[in-house]
């Protein structure tokens, strides 16, 4: 486990292989909820939270339940159920602990169950940090950190997008491009700009 690896996971997950702009995970809420900053931020915060929690839980399940019993093929099914259960649990806890926070997150929490980013992160962690059925050294921490970073990358893309789209309200975008098309075109330019970080080497 070394600092280098963590740094490279950070740069990679946030900028180079940004979960939205490069891996295309979590696109549905990206174009639907990024019109205003407040909801965009709420969604991103919720997503980051859930990705982190699920990265940890799915890793443990894979390592101590699926692998030892040769059930690796049940990965998809078990991960999805875990995520759904996790979201329910988090929802209940937040509702109890801080009703204000619960009101802020609102329906976004439920939507996260079907957010590709969460399941995608869990699957990516396994693909990247397990080799031939054995976890690499520091696998758990790398997975957890990658989950956090993917959440951060998600937040970055959502915030930039919402800032731009709020400003776009004042622009005379051609009618055929309103809403989704122009959002994708903006994302395309953002993706091009982020390419500046390609080949990053610390």
């Amino acid at each position: 486990m070394n600092l280098h690896e963590f740094l490279s996971i950070f740069i990679s997950a946030v900028f180079i292989y940004n979960v939205i702009l490069s891996r295309f995970l979590g696109l549905c809420p990206f174009v639907a909820i990024s019109k205003e900053t407040k909801p965009a931020f709420a969604m991103s915060a919720a997503v980051t939270f859930v990705i982190t929690a699920s990265s940890a839980v799915t890793w443990v399940i894979y390592r101590f339940l699926l692998l030892p019993f040769n059930l690796a093929y049940l990965r998809t099914l078990s991960f999805v159920l875990v995520i759904a259960a996790l979201v329910q649990l988090i929802e209940m806890i937040i509702r109890k602990v801080s009703p204000a926070l619960y009101r802020a997150f609102g329906i976004y929490l439920t939507l996260i169950t079907t957010n590709c980013a969460v399941l995608g992160a869990a699957v990516l962690n396994i693909d990247m940090f397990f080799v031939k059925g054995k976890p690499v050294v520091g696998s758990f921490y790398y997975s957890l950190f990658q989950g956090v970073c993917m959440g951060l990358g998600y937040t970055l893309a959502m915030l930039i997008m919402s800032g731009i789209r709020e400003r776009l309200e004042f622009c005379k975008v051609p009618r055929a491009l309103h809403n989704f098309p122009i959002a994708f075109i903006i994302a395309s330019v953002l993706s091009l700009s982020f390419m500046g970080f390609n080949g990053f080497k610390f």
Binding site: I164, C171, P174, L190, S193, F194, G196, G199
Partner: protein
């Protein structure tokens, strides 16, 4: 009452100078760099520039005719986009490259957003990064100055590959006697143009100065072997920094409104440029840095808005 309320993007207050006058003055200020480009790289530089400008203007014309909008090609902004795009290209590219780049610049960078005053990103840079991603071979093949058949690396590219060129004299960097893009190499010509814009009051010092100073500072601290050993003068005079800082990072529409915002913008550009130059895969980061800061501009504006009296 509702239709008396006009809500639009910035700027809201226009000086007596019309938009076209400002644009055409910018065109004039770019002429010295253009002439230098032709002297240094040959007539190809001229053809490329004309191709880009022609394509940009035609694209805008066709688009506005097809959409039934007011024809604005005479306001000079398409011409500027064409020139700036050409200045960001190596002199050896085939002529279809600037044409495609100009079309992309105009369509994706400006027209699809609603035209003049509505773009989020600097249009010329949108075209440039598109070309860079699409035809990297053409975009990174440079010719030696005064000798258009011999390939040569730019100083920054050589640095990135670890081959430190026999130390290029600063004077050569200043007048552009080295490989590079058409409009970026002759610092002298660019500064003359920038001076014209400053004198006329069309650009303010905040963005260019903070951008250049930040880059220099960062390169001084982190850019050499060990801390505080960087060759800041080399980095300020190399690559597209001067061209970018004075002519592209100063785009009225795609940059913050307030002075404070502009300083943040300049610093952001500087840091990003330096980070990419030092640790990124590309030798030059100016285009990407400016585009990323363009994307952050709505946010910067939000948090640096002038306090309205009474609120």
């Amino acid at each position: 009452m509702k239709d008396k309320l006009i809500v639009s993007g910035s700027p809201h207050i226009y000086t007596r100078e019309s938009v076209s006058r400002i644009m055409w003055t910018v065109v004039v200020s770019l002429i010295p760099a253009g002439i230098a480009g032709v002297i240094i790289f040959g007539w190809d530089a001229l053809w490329i520039t004309l191709a880009a400008v022609g394509a940009a203007v035609s694209t805008e014309l066709i688009f506005e005719l097809a959409a039934g909008k007011k024809i604005t090609v005479l306001d000079g902004s398409a011409v500027i986009t064409g020139i700036l795009l050409a200045f960001n290209l190596p002199a050896g590219v085939p002529l279809w490259l600037p044409v495609i780049g100009a079309v992309v610049s105009m369509v994706v960078g400006k027209l699809l957003f609603g035209g003049l005053g509505q773009n989020i990103f600097n249009p010329a840079l949108v075209g440039r990064v598109f070309l860079m991603a699409s035809w990297p071979k053409y975009m990174t093949t440079f010719t030696r100055p005064f000798c258009d058949t011999v390939a040569s690396a730019t100083p920054l590219a050589a640095l990135k590959e670890g081959k430190v060129l026999e130390h290029i004299p600063y004077w050569d960097l200043f007048i552009g006697n080295h490989g590079g893009c058409i409009g970026e190499v002759c610092i002298l010509a660019l500064l003359i143009g920038a001076a014209i814009l400053f004198i006329k009051g069309y650009i303010s010092w905040q963005i260019p100065v903070t951008y250049i100073v930040t880059t220099g500072l960062f390169m001084y601290v982190f850019g050499g072997n060990g801390f505080f050993k960087g060759d800041w003068l080399f980095h300020i005079l190399s690559g597209g920094l001067i061209l970018g800082a004075f002519f592209m990072a100063t785009d009225y529409v795609a940059t913050p409104l307030t002075a404070k915002g502009q300083i943040i913008f300049g610093v952001g550009c500087g840091v990003l440029t330096a980070v990419i130059r030092i640790w990124g895969g590309y030798p030059e980061g100016v285009s990407y840095a400016i585009l990323m800061m363009n994307a952050a501009t709505p946010f910067i504006d939000r948090y640096t808005k002038n306090r309205i009296y009474g609120s």
